[in-house]
């Protein structure tokens, strides 16, 4: 068997792939959190719960309506995004005039309520969601077997993250978003409806979480706590990448997923803490994070 640094190659590449998959979810979730933080100035603690709702939406669509994976990949983000818009309009928007802490408390409470409701109706054991037929199986790369679905997740995440980045950095709508992030009052004084822009941003950030949830459904079992398992790490990633930095969230998400995967190979005891260790080190030397803008 081929060995790399004394580690069997399939083990190394297997963990690298797992790291990349986790990184894909970190990146999508951190990206949504960053966009929301930039525009709303709140840390969306409900993000993990909305990710979970995305996965549940796919499961429910299949279970009760027979709607399959690919339509769910579009429908679930739309439905959960609309739910996010309702949350923003009815609850979150009432807190913009107050200290940021209230937004954090509200979304934290929302997460607890949402997860509690789902636990109540569906239990916490988790439901299986099958990989769609078109993405089943694996290919032999020579040095390892690559499950098609996992490759699909990484590709889909890269495409969605890149598309989001391009919309924000390269389009006219993105320019309005960036301007409204920098100086919302002045942007309003130009005749642009910033409150509506904020609502749309929240909806899109939530839709991104739901999209990640659908991608995650066949990999992790669909259960009310699936968001919790990710979200602490994702908050650390947002901080490491630099609060509100789009590119920072994407690159840090993928990068730390890989670092975490490699740690599992070389020093498994540290794999659960390595991201927080990186966070401490980065914050010591770069308090604004890797890609954070100077004030």
């Amino acid at each position: 068997m081929m060995m790399i640094f004394g580690i069997p190659a399939p083990l190394l590449f297997g963990q690298l792939l797992l790291g990349l998959i986790n990184g894909a979810f970190y990146a999508m979730l951190a990206l949504g959190l960053s966009i929301i933080f930039g525009m709303l100035n709140i840390i969306n603690f409900a993000h993990g719960a909305l990710f979970m709702m995305g996965a549940f939406a796919a499961w429910i669509l299949l279970q009760y309506l027979g709607i399959g994976y690919f339509p769910a990949l579009i429908l679930s983000p739309i439905l959960i995004g609309l739910f996010g818009i309702v949350l923003e309009r009815t609850l979150i928007s009432r807190l913009y005039k107050l200290d940021h802490l209230y937004g954090l408390l509200l979304t934290f409470g929302l997460a607890l309520v949402i997860e509690g409701l789902f636990r109540n109706y569906y239990g916490s054991s988790g439901m299986p969601y099958n990989i769609p037929a078109a993405l089943q199986g694996a290919t032999d790369l020579g040095f390892m077997y690559l499950p098609i679905y996992r490759a699909w997740v990484v590709v889909a995440a890269v495409v969605v993250c890149f598309a989001t980045w391009a919309i924000i950095e390269k389009t006219f709508l993105g320019a309005r978003l960036r301007a409204a992030t920098e100086n919302p009052a002045l942007v309003r004084a130009f005749g642009i409806n910033v409150p509506r822009l904020i609502t749309i941003t929240y909806g899109c950030g939530v839709a991104l979480a739901a999209f990640a949830g659908v991608l995650a459904a066949p990999i992790y079992s669909v259960n009310p706590d699936m968001g919790d398992n990710f979200i602490n790490t994702v908050f650390a990633i947002v901080v490491i990448g630099g609060m509100g930095s789009i590119l920072g969230s994407i690159l840090t998400g993928f990068g730390l997923g890989v670092i975490e995967g490699l740690t599992k190979v070389f020093y498994p005891q540290a794999s659960a803490t390595v991201i927080f260790l990186v966070m401490v080190i980065v914050l010591l030397f770069m308090p604004r994070g890797l890609f954070g803008k100077a004030a």
């Binding site: 006219f172 320019a175 309005r176 960036r178 301007a179 992030t181 920098e182 100086n183 009052a185 002045l186 942007v187 309003r188 004084a189 130009f190 005749g191 642009i192 409806n193 910033v194």
Partner: protein, 231 residues
């Protein structure tokens, strides 16, 4: 065109405008003069709906705007160039220029804007608006509101801290847009500059308008003005 009556404004507990009143007629260039802290910027921000709390009456083309949010005031046809210029660092020069939406026909097209501000054309590719020099940023801040079709412009100290040649260029621009039918409410500390562009001058003190001087009487009112402005 713009009629302000009994305008009061507050920042939190502090009451900054105390019943300011004045008017700007269509096609005029009118200045607000006054010492630091007199409330000139607050007056412009109040017209734009950008202060936390305001009361009184702001009528524009007959419509009352005192309760309107900033985006509606902008869409009614008033455009604002703030004292700190408000150039966005996360937007390129071109994005900054194109950011304010066109709200009515009759704005200047890009070719005319570049003819007025040749520097902006040269710097159009700059990736961050805040990489421009102070003078260029000021030109960009004026240029971007000329596109929108808003005919009432509020300019807050456009000459502050700029070199004399740039001040002259801004003076030329104001006369040019006046000739094109724009109406301008201009906040100035520099009354020598104000005299070269304005029809009338209002003097503000402690949040009130205390005097009005037509431009042709400015030179004969110098003693009074020195007194008001403490220069």
């Amino acid at each position: 065109m713009l009629e302000i009556k009994d305008l009061n404004a507050w920042y939190g507990e502090s009451h900054v405008l105390h019943g300011a009143a004045f008017e700007v007629r269509e096609g005029e260039v009118v200045t607000l003069l006054g010492r630091n802290g007199a409330g000139k910027s607050t007056t412009l921000k109040s017209i734009m709906g950008l202060v936390p709390r305001r009361q009184g009456s702001i009528r524009f083309r007959g419509a009352e705007l005192i309760g309107a949010p900033p985006e509606r005031i902008a869409r009614a046809g008033i455009a604002f160039c703030p004292e700190e210029r408000g150039i966005f660092g996360s937007l390129s020069v071109t994005e900054n220029l194109l950011l304010p939406p066109v709200i009515a026909p009759g704005g200047l097209d890009l070719a005319t804007i570049y003819a007025l501000f040749p520097n902006l054309k040269e710097r159009a590719g700059t990736a961050h608006g805040t990489k421009l020099s102070g003078g260029e940023q000021q030109m960009l801040a004026i240029a971007r509101i000329l596109r929108t079709g808003a005919k009432m412009l509020l300019l807050d100290e456009p000459t502050e801290g700029l070199a004399p040649v740039i001040v002259q260029q801004i003076g030329r621009t104001i006369r040019e847009i006046k000739a094109r039918g724009f109406t301008v409410l201009l906040v100035e500390q520099n009354f020598r500059f104000a005299a070269t562009v304005a029809d009338r001058h209002y003097v503000m003190e402690h949040g009130r308008v205390i005097d009005m001087i037509p431009n042709h009487l400015l030179s004969s009112s110098m003693d009074k003005l020195h007194d008001y402005l403490g220069v």
